[in-house]
């Protein structure tokens, strides 16, 4: 009321969803910055590098967005992805299954972990942080146990089953198939979040779980579905990871979930639940991968990339808090 005019403008910005443009603007500024100050940042190969790194984080971030909008968190996605990829590798290398089946194995393993998360959280009312921290370690160990701590190798392009790399990663001509799959999955998830009951209840649970329960919504069921979706996304991420990097090393993957969570948070999804968008998460993914490649083009190595990723996450959250404070003032 003190600054009625200003708050009107802010309200308009919030209503029209321009906040997403803020993240997009940041992404464009970063691209411009690195194009000017980096070496060869504005090139085909750099662009491909950025895409490569975005596939698996992108899939995980999409599932993670649903979870975080419900007010939960899934810390297990990184190791679940690797666990699936490892076991799929065992199926290929040790059990000699056809590659197509092995890819299905990746998704099934990851989805089962998602189901376990969901059941423990919804039915036993355990905190998501604790449950998924537990399944992070369990999946980390489980993958290694099944693989007997052996590194698993997926076929390369020139090998017999190399078609899977051209189908999921790049075509012979170098066309980025991974980006196509990410886009397709993104569209499907976008429809799921904005046009279906699953999406509506995802927001409802995160906004006010008790009100949703009173409205007669089966909270437990939808929570389980959301965590299953997160596991499923991690499984698809596993396929893309295997297709991109070919080599799966046991006991890795922990820490990758933080990139997915960071992408979601940078994209404006609130850890308190109820608010969030997939578009934002996708922009968040690219902000991180652009940052990584951009810093590389300025000859700053991985320690700097990690450092600046942290800075971006904190800036994004600060911005979010500032935004919601302004929104609260608008309301009063």
């Amino acid at each position: 009321m003190v600054n009625g005019e200003k708050s009107g403008v802010l309200e308009a910005i919030r209503r029209s969803g321009l906040q997403k443009l803020l993240a997009l603007g940041a992404l464009l500024i970063m691209c411009t910055f690195f194009s000017i100050f980096g070496q060869n940042f504005f090139s085909h190969s750099a662009f491909m590098n950025i895409l490569d790194a975005s596939y698996y984080i992108g899939f995980m971030a999409i599932g993670q967005t649903f979870v975080i909008i419900t007010g939960g968190i899934d810390l297990s996605v990184g190791t679940v992805m690797m666990s699936g990829a490892l076991i799929g590798g065992v199926a290929y290398n040790v059990w000699h299954w056809p590659i197509a089946f092995c890819l299905v194995v990746i998704v099934i393993v990851a989805t089962i972990f998602g189901l376990i998360n969901g059941l423990l959280i919804a039915k036993l009312h355990l905190p998501p942080f604790i449950v998924t921290l537990g399944t992070q370690f369990i999946s980390l160990g489980f993958g290694s146990i099944v693989a007997e701590v052996q590194t698993q190798q997926y076929p390369t392009v020139n090998q017999a089953d190399g078609w899977f790399k051209t189908a999921f990663y790049r075509t012979q001509g170098g066309f980025p198939m991974g980006a196509v799959f990410l886009l397709l999955f993104f569209i499907a998830a976008y429809i799921l979040l904005t046009r279906t009951k699953l999406g509506r209840y995802t927001y409802a649970i995160g906004s006010n779980e008790e009100a949703a329960r009173i409205s007669g919504i089966n909270i437990d069921k939808w929570k389980v579905i959301v965590y299953v979706l997160s596991g499923f996304s991690a499984g698809l991420a596993g396929i893309l990871y295997a297709a991109t990097y070919t080599t799966i090393v046991p006991q890795t993957g922990n820490g990758l979930e933080l990139y997915a969570i960071a992408a979601v948070v940078i994209g404006g999804t609130s850890l308190a639940g109820g608010v969030g968008s997939l578009v934002g998460s996708l922009i968040g993914v690219f902000i991180m991968t652009v940052l990584k490649d951009g810093l590389m083009s300025m000859n700053m190595q991985s320690q700097w990339q990690i450092f600046f990723t942290g800075v971006v996450v904190i800036l994004a959250v600060l911005l979010d808090i500032y935004r919601s404070k302004k929104a609260a003032q608008v309301k009063n």
């Binding site: 309200e11 919030r14 209503r15 046009r195 279906t196 009951k197 699953l198 999406g199 509506r200 209840y201 927001y203 409802a204 995160g206 906004s207 006010n208 008790e210 009100a211 949703a212 009173i214 409205s215 007669g216 919504i217 109820g274 608010v275 929104a327 608008v330 309301k331 009063n332």
Partner: protein, 513 residues
């Protein structure tokens, strides 16, 4: 309905609801005793009573949230038994709770139809937006179905909630304190809406503390007291005085104080001038040495908020605070403590105690600076000091090392008192000091408070229990809607005067959204 002709009330056919002999206990507390309630078609029926009279419990039984231990509910001539809120809703009985149950991040339409979207997996907002628009039009509501709740004022959000309740084809609508957070114009809008619903034959049960609203809106009023049905009046034949008498008419088991025990020349230890915040309007008062100053008012009248301003827990827009005649700048609770003001929260388990720590740790919590050297706590001195108070205010605990959680409510409260005494606080603010404490322990707390003032300390006592205030206070300040509406010497105070000023609504006119 013709079969049930046991009595010969002329408007028998209009009766939509009867609650008979409803009895409910919660872990030994007898919340409802053989309660009766009757509702006719198309009437606004007010349900009034002091805090804790059992109004909300009765309505929760009606709407299936609680199950009665005894008694029956007859709805549209048939005996019914609702096991869940959903069952009651489907049958046409909806309740709008005092605290809103909406999802702030969703739109009005999404909130109203949540859980009732179209069949199948997909949602179609165009359909529910259209249905919501029709619903809002029929209720003359000027709200866009696509507005997110977080952008609506509390008043508008409340309208959405009522519209949601109506959308279940409600025959009976229960409104629990719907105007508590509304401005005057929003209240008027609500009343218009209620009038339209009444015209459509919806019966409304209206719970409110604001008697002048009831006078305007209600056709009949039912009064409850101490979990019992007192009586039902037809509003146009009743006076407000009559209703207040019915509300407070219990025999007062506490011996009230007849005159102030404070010497007229006792020095002023605390003075506030024009304390203001969003919830407090220009509150000024004096506290003398050795005085117990009572703060009366209904829940939400702003009494706790005044206390929080005095101790610096909330930021004040305006207002000055003087301690022993000197102006002080209290910006946070630490400042208040250093000026000798201690606050005992109404929710001691959340704000007053560390439940997992020992008696000593809790009692010493505010004073550790004085009992530590270079960062190390002198545990032995702490134990000794605590022991002194265990003796002097008679805390019943096996040892000073006992974990607080294992003590009774009364003894927990004494530990909080000890904490402030150890810190040498001369001004103590007791916020609902006897909440959740049994009768025996209550009188001990009263005795302790009297001891404290006899020894020259001064007390501000916030309480929703009138008998307690009348027994303990030397002077009483009555608040309503954030403003001080009356100051009474104990010799001129009684329940009726206090209730009158506690429900005074005309100061609410200053409120703006």
């Amino acid at each position: 309905m013709g079969e049930r002709n046991a009595n010969t009330l002329t408007n028998e056919s209009q009766k939509v609801l009867e609650m008979l002999g409803i009895d409910k206990r919660f872990q030994g507390v007898h919340a409802l005793k053989e309660c009766t309630f009757e509702l006719r078609k198309g009437e606004v029926h007010a349900l009034v009573g002091e805090n804790g009279a059992g109004k909300s419990t009765l309505m929760k039984i009606l709407t299936g949230i609680y199950q009665p231990d005894k008694g029956e509910i007859v709805y549209n001539g048939k005996k019914v038994h609702f096991r869940t809120a959903k069952e009651a809703q489907v049958a046409g009985i909806s309740i709008v709770h005092q605290e809103l149950n909406l999802m702030n991040h969703l739109t009005a339409a999404q909130n109203i139809f949540v859980g009732r979207e179209a069949k199948g997996f997909m949602t179609d907002d165009r359909v529910i937006n259209e249905r919501t628009r029709k619903l809002f039009d029929s209720l003359n509501l000027n709200i866009k179905p696509t507005d997110k709740i977080s952008f609506l004022t509390i008043g508008k959000a409340q309208m959405v909630e009522i519209a949601k309740a109506i959308s279940f084809e409600a025959n009976i609508l229960v409104l629990d304190e719907p105007t508590a957070a509304l401005t005057i114009s929003e209240t008027e809008e609500l009343f218009n809406m209620m009038n339209e619903l009444r015209a459509k034959g919806v019966s409304i049960i209206y719970i409110s503390h604001r008697l002048e609203e009831i006078e305007v809106m209600a056709d009949r009023v039912t009064v409850m007291r101490d979990g019992q049905y007192v009586g039902t009046l037809v509003m146009k034949d009743a006076t407000l005085d009559q209703i207040i008498k019915m509300m407070v008419g219990r025999t007062i088991y506490e011996e009230p104080k007849t005159k102030s025990h404070v010497k007229p020349d006792a020095p002023v230890v605390l003075e506030t001038k024009n304390l203001s915040s969003p919830l407090v309007k220009d509150v000024s008062f004096l506290l003398r040495q050795g005085e117990i100053l009572g703060f009366a008012g209904l829940i939400g009248a702003g009494r706790t908020e005044v206390a929080r301003l005095v101790i610096g827990a909330d930021r004040r827009f305006r207002g000055d605070i003087f301690v022993s005649g000197r102006q002080v700048n209290i910006k946070c609770p630490k400042d208040a403590v250093s000026h000798g003001i201690g606050y005992l929260s109404e929710d001691r388990k959340r704000y007053g105690l560390a439940l997992g720590l020992s008696v000593t740790d809790n009692a010493m919590l505010a004073s550790l600076d004085d009992y530590a050297s270079s960062g190390f706590i002198n545990q032995r001195k702490c134990e000794q000091e605590t022991y002194k108070y265990i003796k002097s205010i008679d805390i019943k605990t096996p040892s000073s090392r006992q974990i607080i959680r294992n003590l009774s409510g009364g003894n927990q409260q004494k530990v909080v008192i000890a904490k402030w005494l150890i810190k040498n606080c001369d001004i103590l603010i007791f916020d609902e000091p006897t909440r959740g404490i049994d009768i025996g322990a209550k009188s001990e707390i009263y005795k302790l408070m009297n001891d404290l003032v006899n020894r020259g300390r001064s007390i501000i006592m916030i309480s929703s229990e009138l008998p307690e205030l009348l027994r303990m206070s030397d002077r009483i300040i009555v608040m309503c809607e954030g403003a001080k509406t009356k100051e009474l010497d104990i010799s001129e105070a009684d329940s009726e005067i206090i209730m009158k000023y506690a429900t005074l609504n005309d100061v609410g006119g200053k409120k703006h959204g």
